[in-house]
């Protein structure tokens, strides 16, 4: 008996309409445990080498972990993966909500989509009944509109994922939307679903998930919820959620502002967590089984009408807010709603719009090409650009491929301020005085995404004179001066980056959210004990799970090497803005990272990883991790 898992893989070939349900492979469970482990393994093994990301042979893999859907805090993560249209390499993204757990209750740990439906379709899953149904009545409609239609037609207990118009038109940063405001935003997997003519998936599941020791899980689950309540962050972090970090990021000079030209703005108080609570919030909106709901559901009121929207989360505040110089919380929330409806990742969308505004300001995009006068911080301009992108009209068609490819077409010096790594736009932490954070972005398998590594705190602590792993909040309470931050030291960042790159994605393997650990400090031993009661197997978090997390790092690096013809070191460089332009204002004024420092960090990082000087895992490293890949 496979405890902790639903026990099945669902394979759907959209080209010929076949549906196969097969037992979950023991080999996957034994070697890769779940979630991100499954997606990495399956994508490498089953995606034909050299496949077109938007071609019918690309796969969309949906995977949950052994703890997903069980009685423990925040066990609601769903993982998606595909060869990314944004990077051409390994792409994945995950979301909270209730979709993945319902897939498990329907009996499926893994779903693999291949082929391309002839007509717009949606996938209907009601436990053992799986059908590919027509979706022409849904095509062209917004994400939440489609969710509402399907819930009305099928029943409110169905969980729905959808793509918006951006996914239909294969915008490289199209997201997957769910539960009226949750998204798997990154790496363009919404575009891959669109390329397969899949508008939505609807699932109802009401089966048991077998667990090894139900009584033990009941006891430990209750103890874990109780432990969460005892953490200071339970009441300190939860009210504002991720948005609570906005002012801190601004204070330490890490808030992306004006297309990452600078790292500080003078209106952070207007677009922070408090502004959300004061101006927008209706209710906390948590994911499945989560005791610390970061989702804030509210009502955005602008001249463009009143819109219900979940968020903005911190990344949206940073990328749509300060990075586009939009200083009104209702405006930021409205743009969040626009992105959700169109099916655009708010991180990349904010970065792409800011890039376009800078190109326009510098005359690299003319008014005629733009189609209207656009301005920083102007809601009309931002919404106009997003709609153009989602519809791939005019300049929107150029921008829809992301900043890297857009810069190739726009020319001039635009590549210098196209803020991305590997083709994926940078998220909400400006890093010119945070070398560890920068290295984390540079080397992440999916491109410039913070989900893999977050060491900004130790970078800043280091800069203001604390120990490398000091708690920044402690330093603040001790009176550290963030107004004039000294230059951060890059010498000791590699071990911290490696630790973070293994630790954060480890929770993605189990199928839980990392924030219980990261934000309120729930100890990893709870996960070890919950895993035992769920599966009947022992798991040493620091030894076994982090080893697997490291193994996945090598596997995905090899996927990128296989899929990107000249893949190597040059794909790990940050945009020139970060090593050519000193920060012009704010607490980090005058700072930049020297290119020699970037090279030095990469040399040290590759050596520590067991990769050659071009950043490719050595044969010895692959053997050490039992990876038979080339």
């Amino acid at each position: 008996m496979l405890y902790g898992y639903a026990g099945h893989t669902l394979r759907i070939d959209l080209g010929n309409g076949t549906v196969e349900k097969e037992p979950l492979k023991q080999e996957w469970v034994d070697e890769f445990i779940g979630g991100r482990g499954f997606t990495a393994k399956i994508l490498y093994d089953e995606t034909p080498p050299g496949v077109d990301p938007l071609g019918s042979d690309n796969r969309v893999v949906i995977a949950m972990g052994p703890l997903s859907g069980l009685f423990l805090p925040a066990a609601g993560k769903t993982h998606f993966a595909a060869k990314s249209p944004a990077t051409g390499g390994y792409g994945d993204s995950n979301m909270g909500g209730h979709f993945g757990v319902t897939m498990k209750y329907a009996g499926y740990d893994v779903t693999i989509l291949t082929g391309r439906a002839i007509d717009p379709s949606y996938i209907f899953i009601d436990n053992d009944t799986v059908e590919i149904r027509p979706a022409s009545h849904l095509w062209g409609k917004g994400s939440t509109e489609v969710e509402e239609i399907l819930k009305t037609d099928l029943g409110r207990e169905f969980q729905i994922l959808t793509i918006g118009e951006a996914g239909e038109r294969m915008v490289n940063f199209a997201c997957i939307s769910h539960d009226f405001g949750r998204q798997a935003g990154r790496t363009g997997i919404g575009a891959v679903l669109g390329s397969k003519n899949i508008k939505a998936i609807a699932v109802r599941g009401n089966k048991d998930i077998p667990v090894f020791d139900p009584k033990g899980l009941l006891k430990k689950g209750k103890a874990t919820y109780a432990a969460c309540r005892e953490k200071p962050g339970f009441t300190g972090w939860t009210p504002e959620g991720t948005a609570g970090i906005t002012n801190w990021c601004n204070d330490v000079g890490a808030l992306p502002t004006r297309n990452f030209a600078t790292s500080h703005c003078d209106y952070a108080d207007k677009i922070n967590g408090k502004a959300i609570l004061d101006e927008l919030k209706i209710t906390d909106k948590g994911c499945f089984s989560c005791p610390i709901p970061c989702g804030k559901y509210g009502l955005a009121k602008t001249g463009k009408g009143s819109k219900y929207v979940e968020g903005p989360e911190y990344e949206t505040l940073a990328l749509v807010g300060s990075n586009c110089e939009l200083s009104d919380i209702h405006g930021v929330a409205h743009v969040n709603w626009v992105c959700d409806e169109l099916g655009l990742d708010t991180c990349s969308a904010g970065a792409v719009v800011a890039f376009a505004l800078e190109c326009y300001e510098k005359g690299l995009i003319s008014k005629q090409e733009m189609g209207m006068e656009v301005k920083w911080g102007d809601l009309d301009s931002i919404v106009y650009l997003l709609e153009k992108i989602a519809k791939r009209e005019g300049i929107g068609d150029v921008l829809a491929d992301g900043v890297q490819k857009a810069a190739e077409k726009i020319g001039g010096d635009s590549a210098k301020f196209a803020i991305h790594v590997k083709g994926l736009e940078w998220t909400g932490y400006e890093s010119r005085n945070a070398p560890g954070m920068m290295l984390g972005y540079m080397t992440a398998d999916v491109g410039a995404h913070h989900s893999r590594c977050w060491v900004l705190g130790s970078d800043v602590a280091n800069a203001v004179g604390g120990a490398a792993d000091a708690n920044v909040h402690d330093l603040i309470s001790q009176g550290a001066d963030f107004e004039t931050i000294p230059k951060a030291d890059h010498k000791h960042v590699v071990p911290l980056v490696l630790k973070s790159q293994h630790l954060r994605p480890a929770f993605d393997i189990l199928g839980t959210c990392r924030l219980q650990y990261m934000e309120i400090g729930l100890e990893t031993r709870y996960y070890e004990e919950l895993y035992y009661h769920a599966t009947g197997k022992k798991l040493d978090f620091n030894k076994d799970l982090l080893h697997l997390s490291e193994k996945i790092w090598h596997l995905n690096r090899m996927f990128n090497r296989r899929e990107i013809p000249d893949f190597g070191r040059k794909y790990d460089y940050p945009p020139p803005r970060f090593y050519e332009e000193p920060i012009p204002s704010g607490p980090n004024k005058g700072h930049k990272v020297e290119f020699s420092v970037i090279e030095e960090m990469l040399d040290t990082y590759y050596k520590a990883r067991g990769w050659d000087e071009n950043g490719i895992p050595t044969k010895d490293t692959l053997e050490k991790f039992n990876l038979a890949v080339e």
């Binding site: 077998p210 899980l217 919820y225 989560c290």
Partner: protein, 125 residues
């Protein structure tokens, strides 16, 4: 003592459904729970939890007298229940559940949901 619900703090996590199914049936299956979280989105944006408030309408509707009160909690005597499900249609909160064998079951005030609820949206008054 009856269970009560405060929508203002509920974030829809469904920990109550999970603990209910695990406590009472020793299974992981929130669809079997004796209470039900419902989400009202996009408009007006709030959660409700359908709970048994021990109103006794089920007992009044029961033709066999199978539902009786024990220390403030209405319970079903399965020896007397003939599975007619009159109680199900009588329940104003739609929380008289039906098991796979076609027989009804209901909340027994075990209080686990209120104990676990991380938002204190469920409580006993």
């Amino acid at each position: 003592m009856t269970l009560s619900f405060n929508y203002e703090t509920c974030s829809g996590c469904r920990a109550c459904e999970l603990v209910c199914s695990l406590q009472n049936f020793k299974i992981i299956n929130p669809s079997k729970a004796m209470l039900r979280v419902t989400a009202q989105f996009p408009d007006p944006g709030r959660y409700d939890v359908k709970i048994c408030n021990q109103c006794g309408d089920c007992a009044e509707a029961c033709p066999t007298g199978a539902i009786h009160r024990v220390k403030g909690t209405w319970r079903i005597d399965m020896k007397k229940c003939d599975g007619c499900l009159a109680c199900v249609s009588a329940c104003p909160e739609d929380v008289m559940m039906v098991n796979d064998d076609g027989m009804p079951y209901k909340c027994i005030n075990c209080r686990q949901c209120a104990d676990v609820c991380p938002r204190d949206a469920l409580s006993f008054n």
